[in-house]
Amino acid sequence: MTKDEVQGAMEEDQAQSKKGLKKQQKEAEKAVKKAEKQAKLAADQQGSEEDDFAKDRYGVPPMVQSQQKLDRVLARVEDLSPEKADQLIWLRARVHTSRAKGKQCFLVLRQQQFNVQALVAVGDRASKQMVKFAANITKESIVDVEASVRKVEQKIESCTQQDVELHIERIFVISQSEARLPLQLEDAVRPDGEGEEEGRATVNQDTKLDNRVIDLRTTTSQAIFRLQSGVCKLFRDTLTNKGFVEIQTPKIISAASEGGANVFTVSYFKTSAYLAQSPQLYKQMCICADFDKVFCVGPVFRAEDSNTHRHLTEFVGLDIEMAFSYHYHEVIDSITDTMVQIFKGLRENFQTEILTVNKQYPSEPFKFLEPTLRLEYTEALAMLHQAGVEMGDEEDLSTPNEKLLGRLVKEKYDTDFYVLDKYPLAVRPFYTMPDPNNAKYSNSYDMFMRGEEILSGAQRVHDAQLLTERAMHHQIDLEKIKSYIDSFRYGAPPTWRRRHWPGESVHAVPRPPQHSSDLHVPT
């Protein structure tokens, strides 16, 4: 070791000890500061607990056990508008989101599909502790708030009530939600595709259905259920006004009603029964019993083992049945008018709901004509021929051609709903009445919505003689349909028609696909 080196080592030692000293000093200072801080905090807490002037303005009240009946009027979020400015109101709502920022806390309060921004800020009404309490309320908890309504200068884009906000003066938690939610409501209403692009979460169908209670709280679900209810109400109202009678039909039946295929068998005590896959038979009975015009709204069960939005195992059927006097167009006019009334009712009374659903499931506005456009099959063929489709005159429309036709009709007439009349006799069942002017065609029709068939109907042959001829033409074993033919031989009404109408009119508005375990429609 050279001298130089020794000196260097000593210097290093000295330097180290100097560093150590500094460190110790710093730590000591830190400890003092910490102690001071703690003391201050404790003092603060003590002090604030002592002078929390807003103590009775917040908290968790005892569980509502109907101890007292308050005459308190609760306002509704959807009614909060600038006209209510500066009023003091009570409101019960769910905490949709909360965000604390320094001395204030922003809450979004939600009621069904409507929400409003609320604010708790330290001031002469609310203390620091109250703000802290509000910030710690878990999402989806139910709260009672007393607040004054204030107009805002800048619109609140994130809420449905954009022109007002609430300044909370009292806040009580009525029912606390767990802190961890299985799914976030904002994620559940995010449109498909948007989440992937921005790296945001979306919720899988399975998760939604496993937690249906929370999923049903989303604005979209709220709107869809209101629309379903609206369609049924409009259907009932329109038909009742037209003199139809609503009937209730059995749903557990002893024999399969239509064909026998696609029917659910259920055990019925010592024997088995079937779930009704159409109220058809009962409607026919009513017509034969001179009811003249009947309709029914009810569940229909079909054992369809395919996964498309047009093959559901359970759905709500909107069925109508009517006798006509001279021409089956009386029936078409009646049905199309009912549809138009439903469309108009939805347009006039359910605009908010349609817009809400559109946010998650974007779609073009539904367009229709009044009176409804009626085209004949030959016209449709001419349009398809001009568009370059090759098909025979008496050929049925394939699904792609139906869609193409829908687009062509939309382009020319700008309507999403139309009737296609006079189908070729060859593609219809043997009991379809032939066209009086051209034996190649028949008195039958389909109705289309957005390029998909939603309803099909026809005038039926009610003459035993003609029916036998038609059956023989189709090479159908007469023995098998003897009872059907005989029912006309022994005096059925001279002219009547029937057709089943699946409850697909809900398609007037976009409907999210539904899980097979979740097809209960509350109507």
Partner: protein, 304 residues
Amino acid sequence: MSMYQVKPVCGSLLKPDLPTCMYTLPNIHGQQGNSCTSDLCSEHALQNGEVDPAVKALEARQDEILRKLYELKAAVDGLAKTVTTPDADLDLTVSSSLSSQSPSSTTFTGVTNLDTLIGKDLGALRDIVINANPAQPPLTLLVLHSVLCQRYRVLSTVHVHSSVSNVPPQLLSCLGPRHADSYARQMFQLGFTLIWKDVPKLQMKFSVQNMCPIEGEANVARFLFKLMSPYPSDAALATLVDSWVDMAFFQLAEGSAKERAAVLRALNSALGRSPWLAGQEFSLADMACYCCVFAERPCLLYSL
């Protein structure tokens, strides 16, 4: 051959536009050789006991005259039907239909065949779809529609599109009462579908192949008018008609008060010179100008 040979200056293909209201005579200048042979032929045919072609021609002419008479009868029937309702629009319809039919039936026979005009009949109704804004009812097209109805079997339907509401009832019945056979669309030659819709400009859709709509009342009116009688073949005359039609829609219907006054003065002097705006014959120009004046100032016409 000591002279230069020159090709004929005026080709033999050129056919002069001969009036058909007079008796026709065989051409004495051209095709002399041919006429000689045909004479020989006719003598030959007569000897064989066949019908003289002159007799045949006479028969054809008689049929033609009868056909014209039937047309005239139909026009008069139309007049008798509409004359009972004292409405300015209908009065115009009658006068225009008469005047538009008379030249077309005499001069332009045969071209009213719909197949040649708007494509071959595929066994289906050919439907003309017109989207119009209820705020500006297309008067010209309503007039043209009633003329079309006298010429063809027209299925007229009126619809209201979901983009508008509260259409006045008289607009819903503007194409007249429903045809008794309207349940069978195939029985008609032409469909006239009027849709009251929220459109900035009137539009017409007809062809499915090229979905391009035809925009503007003037252009649609030209199309409909051509379905009944062709445009003047004289380019200058056709341009004159076109300019009157444009003047009517751009300056009378949409122009300022100054422009309107100018057009009215021009109309006045033009009609002082000749019975119709485009000379001796009724044309679309007259129909368009009448409708635009009527839409702006109905009182002006009542005072006439």
